[in-house]
Every structure is written in C-alpha cells, then in structure tokens.
Amino acid sequence: MPKKYETPLLDELEKGPFPSFVTEIKKAAARSDMAADELGQLEKSYRDKRGYWKHGGIVGVRGYGSGVIGRYSSLADQFPDVANFHTVRINCTSGFFYTSKFLKEMCDIWDKYGSGLTNLHGSTGDLVLLGTNTENLEPIFAEFSSRGWDLGGSGSALRTPSCCVGPARCEWSNIDTLGITYSVTQEFQDEMHRPAFPYKFKIKTAGCAVDCIASIARADLSIIGTWKGKIAVDQGEVANYAKKGMKIQEEIVNKCPSKCMSYDGKELKIDDDNCVRCMHCIAKMTKALKPTGEKGATILMGSKAPFVIGATLSWVIVPFMKLEEPYDELKDLIRKMWEFWDEHGKNRERIGELVIRKGMREFLEFIGIDPVPQQVKEPRRDPFFFWTEADLQK
C-alpha cells in the first residue's frame, strides 16, 4: 500500500470543469510511492509558496549526454522516494501521432520503472516520462530502444526537432513538415545525444505562416513553408462564403496586410505580385483560396526566450529554399551554422545571440548567403558601416 498524504490545498484544484493534474497525480500515487511523495512535496510547495527541486548532474544513459534531466528533491528526508526523480525524454513522433498499442506499451514500461506520471508533451515536444530514480534509467532505455524508440535531446545539444501536423492533416502545408523533421532527426543523432554545442539548438518546422508549432518564437532554426505563385480563387466558393454571412470586404479585404485584394460583391481579385503570403485570407476562406506554383520554405534563425539579451523572434536568412528529400541543402546549411557557432560561440550563448554579437555580415559570409532585402525590415539608419579591403577594391 503506497504512502498517503493529506493534501487540503491541492484538493481545491480537483474542483471545477477542467481536467485536474492533481487527480492525475493521485491516480499514480495510488500505485507508486514515487508519485505519492511527489504529491506530498507538491502540497508542501503550495503551503510554503516555493519549489523544492534541485537540478544538474545526471544527463543520460551510458554513452549519451542528453535525454535525461537530473532532478533531486531538496527535502529528501521527508520525501525519500523522490530523492532522485529524473525526467526521461523520449523522442516524439513527427506530428505527435501514436497508436494505442504503443501508448499501452509505454504505460506498462513506465508503471514498472517510474512514477506513472508523464507529460504529453514537454514544451520542446518530447514525450516526457516524469520521475524515476537513477538505477531505473538503463532498464527504461533498453525497453524503449529495443522497441525502436530513442531518447530526445537535452543540455547543450540539438533538441528534439518538432513540427506542426503538416501534410498529414492540413490543406495549407507547403512542405512535408513531418518528413523534414524525421529526416533531420535521423541525420543528426550524434548532435542530439552527445552535447557538443555552446548551448541548446532547436529546430521547428511549420507548413505555413500560421505557424502552429510557434517556430518563429522558439527555434534557433525556424522553417516556415511558403510558395512562389498565385493564389487560385474559386469564385463559386467565394460566393458561398458570402451567402453564409461572411462580410468579405470587412473580414478579408480590409484585413489584408498588403492591401492586395479587392471585392466588388461578385468577384474577389488578388494582386499576387503584392501578396506577402500571411495566410489570413486562405485560413478564413479555405474552400475558395489555394496557393499554387512552386512550394518551399523561408528559413529563419535565432528566436528564443528572454535569457540573456531579451526575447527574440527568428529573422529571415534564406527567403526561399526548395525542400525535397533528402533535404541536403537544408542539412548543409545547418552544418554551416553549427560550424560558425562552434568557432565563435561562448558557453550558454545561443546562435542568435552570437549572430547579433558578431553581426549578420560575418555570419552570412561564413554560411555563404548573399544579402537580400528580404532579410531585413529596413536598411540601417546610421552611417557607421564597415568596409573590407575587398569591398574597397570593387
């Protein structure tokens, strides 16, 4: 019979319509002393208004330097079953698709070797097994890897790449987000499992500018699907939207950021040359509007949360890249970016921070990309620019 704690504060979070994480912990705690101590310690955190976890140390299974996040209770005397309570990151599938067969196997393994608690999914996209002790790590890895699953990234490594649902279930995807993610993940297994970077590196792939994976906000390399060509208009479907009550002038034409649309009550016209492919009209009138022509992606880099220089959004480095198997151009670009970072980056410096520190010119020259206006919102304002010897000879 596992331990039991009184949890009057957490019990308050079992009330209300939204599914309760407390109920989830209690379910696991009915079987697992680890989950029970997690619950007990969490109640204490709620009472004391502070966390009681320590981090660091252990990072993986034999041979790996990532995939496991070391966690230790700072109240190990009171809650000995979470004295060490590590996270195991299992590399998710592209697009987060699973079968019931796998989920049940995962549950069996995790009930045997861990707390029975999970995150589906962690912020980066891993399938997170939340809480086990050190001696269980090797058996867990053997169970998963023998079934064809591997650990995800952590630490100063390539983190588990992730993507939107893409062509699996979305008519807007310009690229095979799942295929790219799978291919890149397989290509860079060493970079994922044996941390050798200055800091973390995230790759996120979105099929279009709606960016359901938030790649532009939280990836060192953001791949966003786009196209070069016209938006095909099905005027019959436009009429249907109007008939169903859509105010096309107000909701679509007026909201177009580049003012490249017009509507006379009968026909919707698009000046494709001035379209910036923001996706608003397509998303709202999905039956009537379809991108045509060449498909590919815009490659951006550098977004991250606030540490250390404030939050950044990714910025354009390659306005358009065709992305077709085996994605060699993309992989070569990634390798070049890492080479630059390896040469100049400091410990805990993200690649975007490095490029800001060194300047875009040095970076673009290193990776062999020419300057184009699509890379900036506007040219520089100040007169303080550099000239190299080569520039002077031009």
Binding site: T99, S100, A142, A217, C256
Partner: protein
C-alpha cells in the same frame, strides 16, 4: 527475465507507422476542412475521403491510467489512432463517421472536455512549476487549472473575436511561448539573490556565473573565492541560480507573477509580436490564485468587448493604442512598464500623436 538489448542512435520510429490509413492514403492531398463544433472538425481530401478530429483538453500532466483510457477509446472508435497537439490537447482521429457520436457520448459521460478548435481559448501552454522545476517562482499547472476552470465555456462553445492563446511560465526562462502569447502569466522574483559563499567555492565556476548575468551585476569576490552582486544592477532573473545554485533566488514572500499581453506567433494579418507587460506583479496565492484569474478575465472581457472580428489581442491593442488599453482596463501604469533593458529606446513614443 534478461533486460532487452539496448540500441543507440536509432532516433524515433518513422511517423508513417502511426498514421491512420485515411491519412496515409491522402497524405499531402487534403482539400479543405470545416469546424463542426468547438471540439470537432472534419478534413476532406481531394479523393473525397473524410477525417473527423475530436479534440479533448488534457492537463498535460497525465497518469498512465488516463493514457490507457485514451488508448482504449482510440481502439474503440479510431482504429487505435490518436495524436496530441502542440497545445497539449488530445485528438481522436475518426475515419468512420458512425463512430463520431458514440465517441462524443463516451467522452461526455467521462467528463472529458471537448473544445479548443476555432476562435476560442485553447489549452494553455505551460511549464513544470513546483511539480518538477528547480527555478520555479510559482506553480504552472495550478494557475492553468484555475484559468481553464474560469474560461471553460470559451474552450468548449463560446467564441472570442479570434483565437486567444494563453500561456503560463513558472519563471522568466519561459519554456514555452509565453513571450508571444495573447495573454500570458509569467512568474517572477523581485529580490536580489543571497549567496552562500562556502558552497559557491565548491560548486560553481566563477567565469560562467559572471557570464550568466544579463546586466553585468555579478563580479568576482576573490577574498571568498566567490562572487558578489551589484544590487542596483540586478533585475532578479535568476539565471545565476541556474548556473550556480548556492545563489539563492527563491523568496516565497516576494515571488509572484506578472501578466503580459498582445503577443502572437502567426503571420496572419499582422507580423508575429512579442507580449508586453500589462501587470507587473500579483502575489502568489495558491491554491487558486483568485487575483490572477480576475486580472486575466478583466483583460479578456475588454478584448471581447472591443475587438473586431479576426483581431487577436495584440492587433486590437495596437489599433486602439496602449494608452487606451490601460484606460479601458483600468490597469495602473507604473515605472515597471517603461522598458529600461535592451530595446528601451525603440519603445519610447517618438510622436505627438496619442489618445487622452
């Protein structure tokens, strides 16, 4: 029984093994989709095949019991196929229309919440908080729970002018996309950390500890083989604590949360935006943080009342102006709202045009 043979560097299995047959057949060949209700949408392929997705909220933190229940329902109604969304929802993938009703019936009877599709509040992206994080200044799951309880109707049925993306981060490290969400809660510290010099000596590398500080507030303290912190420069981010735990940043009395608004990641209509500060501090008041819920509700209500159809929170605020936003919501504007970090001068008003 001997442990199975471990393998390294195999990567994840190929996703195709996990796609339902209707997706394998129509991969990359979808024509359009329709939102049938807050929790159900149907995708139609060029072949005429259809796929219904039933979206259900999850608390992200799941026991194996609940996952087994998902698996059982997926087997019963979806041929065993299921997926998860980037916002921690579960999606049951139904290829046979006659399974749609019974699935929804079972979900309802088990009190699962269907919703999150269309112009609504979807599930909240969040971090580990006190459940498992070393640097948490507040809990994340608890705040998510009380916010989603409060706004449950906006998840299941009621509509908002456009999607409202909420996020909760338990410290300024912001695992997740708090910095680009419509309305987000981010936990903060407010006091200069204290240093246990004896432990710093043994546990920490001085150069990396100094480099971790965004404002250059940390310098060597050679006599103690440790570091010192310039209190005037410290803005309590806690990055030093992560690199060097004997620099203690937690302070239950002064830790709490800030609320930021107006961010977005999509490119639709207007460019992606950062979230900006609306409320600099609300104290931690577990288990249900009523002040946080009330504050978010105030902002959400003002948005619903004021925004045009399809406008996200940030687009609405930019149209009316931030001065108007503070006026409408009645939120106090303080010194903390004026940027004094890296992009400060970009945020000052360099025009004589503004509203009273």
């Amino acid at each position: 029984m001997a442990a199975p043979q471990r393998r390294t560097d195999i990567g994840p299995p190929h996703f195709k093994e996990f796609l339902p047959p209707v997706i394998q057949k129509n991969y990359g060949d979808w024509k359009h989709h329709e939102v049938l209700s807050g929790g159900v949408m149907v995708h139609t392929a060029n072949s005429g095949d259809k796929l219904w997705s039933v979206r259900v909220a999850s608390p992200r933190l799941l026991s194996t019991d609940t996952i087994r229940d998902y698996a059982a329902m997926a087997e019963k109604y979806c041929g065993g196929y299921i997926r998860f969304t980037t916002r921690n929802n579960v999606e049951f993938l139904v290829s046979d229309e006659k399974n749609l009703e019974p699935l929804q019936k079972e979900l309802n009877s088990k009190k699962y919440m269907m919703g999150g599709i269309g112009p609504r509040i979807s599930n909240i992206v969040h971090t580990q908080g006190w459940i498992h994080c070393h640097s948490a200044a507040s809990d994340a799951s608890g705040i998510v729970k009380v916010l989603m309880d409060e706004f449950a109707d906006y998840f299941t049925t009621k509509e908002t002018p456009n999607k409202v993306r909420l996020a909760v981060a338990c410290c300024v490290n912001m695992c997740g996309a708090v910095h680009c969400s419509d309305i987000a809660v981010v936990a903060i510290h407010r006091k200069v950390p204290t240093i246990d010099h004896d432990k710093v000596k043994n546990m920490c590398e001085i150069p990396s500890t100094i480099a971790a500080c965004p404002t250059g507030a940390i310098s060597p303290e050679p006599s103690k083989k440790s570091v010192k912190i310039n209190a005037d420069k410290c803005m309590y981010c806690g990055n030093c604590f992560t690199v060097c735990p004997p620099i203690e940043i937690h302070d239950p009395e002064y830790d709490g949360v800030a609320i930021v608004v107006g961010g977005k990641v999509g490119n639709l209509r207007s460019n992606p935006k950062f979230s900006k500060l609306a409320i600099p501090f609300i104290k931690n008041n577990p288990p249900r943080w009523p002040e946080v819920t009330a504050a978010v509700k105030k902002i959400l209500d003002a948005y619903i009342a004021g925004a045009e159809k399809h406008e996200r929170v940030g687009e609405w605020i930019e149209r009316i102006g931030w001065e108007k936003f503070f006026k409408i919501t009645g939120l106090p504007f303080t010194f903390q709202h004026i940027d004094d970090f890296v992009v400060a001068r970009e945020t000052f008003r360099t025009a004589a045009t503004f509203k009273w």
